[in-house]
Symmetry: C2
Subunit: 343 residues, 2 copies
Amino acid sequence: MRRRAITSYDVARAAGVSQSAVSRAFSPGASIAERKRAQILAVAAELGYQPNAIARSMSTARSDQPQRSGMVGIIVRRLEDPVFAQTIALFSRILQRRGWHILLFTVDAEREVDEALGALMRFRIDGVIILSALLSRHMAETCHAEGTPVLLYNRSAPGLGISTVQIGNRDGGRSAAALLAAAGHARIAFLGGGDGDATSASREAGLAEGLAEAGLEVFAREEGDYTFTSGREACLRLFARGERPDAVFCASDVMALGLLHAARHELGLAVPGDLSVVGFDDIPAAGWPGHRLTTLRQPVERMIREAVEILIERMETAGLGPRDEHFPAALILRDTVRTVLRR
Amino acid sequence: MRRRAITSYDVARAAGVSQSAVSRAFSPGASIAERKRAQILAVAAELGYQPNAIARSMSTARSDQPQRSGMVGIIVRRLEDPVFAQTIALFSRILQRRGWHILLFTVDAEREVDEALGALMRFRIDGVIILSALLSRHMAETCHAEGTPVLLYNRSAPGLGISTVQIGNRDGGRSAAALLAAAGHARIAFLGGGDGDATSASREAGLAEGLAEAGLEVFAREEGDYTFTSGREACLRLFARGERPDAVFCASDVMALGLLHAARHELGLAVPGDLSVVGFDDIPAAGWPGHRLTTLRQPVERMIREAVEILIERMETAGLGPRDEHFPAALILRDTVRTVLRR
DNA sequence: CGAATCTCTGCATGCGCATGCAATATAGCA
DNA sequence: TGCTATATTGCATGCGCATGCAGAGATTCG
């Protein structure tokens, strides 16, 4: 049976002090004698009292400051994707350590975007981290208009004045291009993450630029949706054509692994013998002994640390302008790109 | 600049009605004329009003009922593990669809357990889902004592009267044993998830039982920590011994894949030629063409659906007793266990 | 030893909303 | 039309806490 929770009044009565004293005992820096605070805390502990965060949030909504809930909303899509899982895990740890709590929203369909948005507003969250591409612009715009700090992680929304932390997609694509061109590849394909996806588009643009500098162009392209299966299927399509690619740059490691597995185990191709593969992200599975996928690494930890910093800054002091941080993707050379140049 | 949020009073003034009317317009089933409700909702939409969930939560804390926040706490460890990532993703979707919101806690160290616990209590969450083994007992006990419904997912805490949803670990172990024994293996090792881990212990117990029935016993055992790396290292240790195992049952797919990669790509062993491997969980990577890991599948979707059902039931009606649901693990036959019997 | 500080303390109040209650408007009916 | 039953409405209040304010002790210092 759910009991009525213990309130500061209960503690006050038990300790023979006023409710204000109890409140102050739990507010760092409040004006209260150390002795008394200790006594109150002892009584509170005995009764199992925990300040009611909801009520606290209510009362902080005083005349001038806006209400603060101590919660940060995180919006994500496909949390089961290893990249997002790792990202959320890190965000969660760092935010928690800094005393913030996380309201999590998984958004798959457009309809859910509005629901999540509504919930965020209703809960008066203090800030939002958006990882989902899906309508992130609309959502970012709305929150931002409400005055809630927003941080876009690996997304951008130019012109909105919203802070972002991003990996260098274009430069990553260029690195991949340079590597593959140097290895003597001439038929380099691109495997993207979907037509409307800006991340994928930037990576492809970088690839195209880099190839152009080497006098090459993108040999073929396929679209996936960032899943293993889509990488696998794209591989089968790529090799069902007349002229086959001799290298593929994939917009993500997960798709690259799908392509790698299909190539090796379904088509019987040698990688990197018959085909070179480059991924993006450097997820843990990329480094597994049987994969050793050459890829572009995101400095995830540093990026997230920075993202949290930026968001907290803006939650704590109003009126700060947006900050945009870009991080370079590091080329991780493993074993899915041939090193011998052969023509 | 963070603006002061729009309140029901603002809407009331703009619409020329009382604050109560606004409140009722947003409460399904409240006594208000349909016409008026529509008008108020229109004005509210125009002003961008969203009922304040925090204030709402405050006022629902009336004399008899306890306060309700509309939030469910989820406690998890190692969110980056694919099993947990998928689990959280599903929980999140289903809970959201049912109108609940998720307060997420990642707990790695013992110290953080208490922090999370405190936060849960402070936020007056309506229910908790615990996925972390770490001190789950202490936590479950505390919440339960407070009267907050608790659901343990793939954990147990016998004697506490707490609801659980679990996979059949022991029977899963028995299935693995039966399969391996039938394949003619005689030196079957177990790779566990850590000494204190109950899940791992049950799976091992099932294995031992099943082997005993075939007149065998566990040939060797190693401990990992559910990570790929630990599986890989355990493999190296297993094969550094004098007499080598000819099959390994692993407490998780992630470790099984670590072992598989190490065996094939570092030790040059053939799987299943030289060594059979059985995992547990059936994570997506288990089915990848290059792995084709034989494993025990958890009916994750059904389990989570059931778990949510159980929790919601208990959040909505007080005084319900605990419910325990067990689901059978299904043996998924792929290609890492030899089929030809050879002695 | 008294006045001036300074440190604590309790009182009273409001945060935004839901809701019991009484008042009012509307409908139903003879 | 007049009167009762019913549907709406507004008023007033409390949820639990933080905090401005004024008073009460405690401390300092001349």
